[in-house]
């Protein structure tokens, strides 16, 4: 039983990270109908920004966090203007390719500017964790789970109970109709990119003390988050959360009870199974219809 509880906690912790990045995928997909393959690189860039501010420059953690998140908001805006906006009237494919190009650009620019050395970002709390009976609760994973819960609640409130949230929803459902109703569609899409970059950034900063800060960290997380999004249903916020958590738990238990080397394969076996048996995912609509 101890083993199951320990695995469950770790699975939920790592799944929460996938869920956060998956939320970014979902938001952009809902607003623009394209998959942003640079979402993982947003996490990586934010983690490196934190290292620069908090470790290299030794600025206070809270200030470094605010600056890193501010940097991500700016990056999200630039990303919208440079990657999405010029191609917005084309079909979804050039935009998707453009996001792949942007992800390569971000990874290599970070490599060129910072160098290849993996970095350590100290955890927020000094204590490593809590021993709850025989189960060790890593403080960083606890923080990740808590922040994910808060962000999901915030997002629900924002989309359902604020005017801007409703405008964003209207934009994602039908851009032309939204424009006719006087909603500034371009501004709403800009806001979506900014928010998803911030979400990806928060995920990167949270996970950095656990996985270390490296150029590859974004790609590693994004691949799983992408799978989580498909399992949950592309375009569905609840699906992204459930999909992310499910993926974290599946791979952790699969590794413990079936095979460690095939840990990553479990995620993709489930992904393929969903694509074949339930392509709309747990909660979403058919990808083919949306795309």
């Amino acid at each position: 039983m101890d083993l199951v509880l320990q695995l469950l906690f770790t699975g939920i912790g790592i799944g929460a990270v996938y869920a956060l990045v998956a939320l970014g995928f979902v938001l952009i997909f809902r607003a623009t109908n394209v998959v942003n393959f640079a979402q993982g690189e947003f996490s990586m860039v934010a983690a490196f920004l934190m290292v620069v501010f908090a470790v290299d420059l030794e600025w206070p953690y809270w200030l470094s966090f605010l600056l890193a998140i501010g940097g991500m908001a700016l990056l999200g805006a630039l990303f919208n203007l440079g990657v999405y906006y010029p191609l917005r009237h084309r079909s979804y494919l050039p935009v998707i390719i453009s996001t792949i190009g942007a992800s390569i650009f971000l990874a290599n620019t970070t490599l060129a500017l910072y160098g290849p050395q993996p970095q350590v970002l100290p955890p927020v709390f000094e204590t490593q964790g809590i021993l709850l009976g025989p189960v060790f609760l890593d403080s960083q994973y606890l923080l990740i789970i808590a922040v994910t819960a808060v962000l999901v609640a915030f997002q629900y409130w924002f989309f359902e109970h604020t005017l801007i949230g409703k405008k964003l929803q209207a934009t994602s459902q039908d851009k032309e109709m939204a424009a006719l109703l006087g909603i500034p569609v371009a501004g709403m899409i800009m806001l979506t990119f900014v928010y998803s970059a911030v979400l990806g950034g928060i995920a990167g900063i949270l996970v950095a003390p656990v996985l270390f800060v490296s150029i590859q960290m974004g790609a590693t997380i994004a691949l799983k988050a992408f799978a989580a999004t498909i399992i949950g249903g592309f375009g569905d916020v609840t699906g992204a959360i459930i999909g992310g958590l499910a993926l974290g738990i599946i791979e952790t238990f699969g590794a413990a009870y079936i095979s460690v080397p095939y840990k990553d394969a479990f995620a993709f076996i489930v992904l393929v199974a969903f694509l074949i048996l339930r392509p709309q995912g747990l909660f979403g609509e058919r990808i083919a219809e949306k795309a």
């Binding site: 993996p118 350590v120 656990v210 150029i215």
Partner: protein
Amino acid sequence: MRTTRRVFLGGAASAAVGAAFPGVIRSACAQGAGATTRIGMVLPVTGPGADAGRFALNGAKIALEAVNKAGGVLGKPLEIVTEDDQTTNPGAVLAFSKLASQSDLVGFLGSIRSTQNHAMAPDILKTGKPVCFGGTDPVLTQMGNPWLFRFRPNDSYSARVIADFGVNTLSKKKWAVIHSTDAFGTSGAKALTEALAKAGATVALDQGYSNQSQDFTPVVLAIRQSGAEVIGSYFTFENDLGIFARQLRQLGVTVPWVGSPSIVNVTALKLAGPSLFGTYGVADYAEESSEAARAFGKAYRAVTKIAPDNQSSWTYDAVTVLAMAINKAGKTDPQAIREALLSIRGHEGAEGTYNFDKNGDGLHGYNVVKNDKGSIVFDKRIDFNQG
């Protein structure tokens, strides 16, 4: 000068070719000048091994400077041409092909990753020029490829040293063997299992993991359940080692740990920090192991301001010894260089004393070191047959 259409088009074409194939232009210039003796180097500039690539290049550059200061190779300065292997097997094959296509390159430095050397091996055989490499899979020098020369001791030696130290010095008989599932990790674990059986120990858990893992909880819990008294490991990437070390200690596993050389790499020490305190490692490079190792350490610190490790020491030795062999051969004929390399006896390098055997293995022993609160303390050197 008046710009005619022919001049303009010629210039534009040259610029286009220059932009697309900088290596070709550089090669052509060097060939034309014939002013240097050139060797190629495959190294990771991008991908998860990029950090190791930086160390490798530092070591090679320090050796290059020393060689040129001492008169160069065949009366000409030595030059190194590099290609990025992207830390992938296809990348390594492509990088080697690019270098091999430059006919004036007289020898090469391969990869520190066994799996990449396996991938390049068929092309190395076809190219027919000496390749100095750092991968430690014993099979690499037993495949009958006459052009492979190893500048680190292979894992049959590291496994014997890990087993000997764990069983006889630490008196631990029940082992957990943790390893990457790539060529390096798999062959290392196999060699360790064999060495443990010979030493009279048992393997309670043999657990592979895939590179770039984000979570080792299942592995750590399996170790805990196995009742192992000691851990022997072959980790390929420092990121994985760091995550494993952190989770191992968090989940309360405190048994001794004797690791392959990555456990004492500079990057691993930085990432894992206190989680690695008290662990042991076998290290092909240990700064206090010999005068030559100390001299390299001094030169490396002077240039980089950080401690050296095996990722830079093997390339330092490879460039030094390859230059020595070409000078000894007196010509750039590949067969003559090969014979000169095989005849090297008693050369004191940063990694140890080089005595090449008929397979192309230059080193035959390891150092045992301990992580003493973050400082790597040399314990002893164990050497086996001298080829």
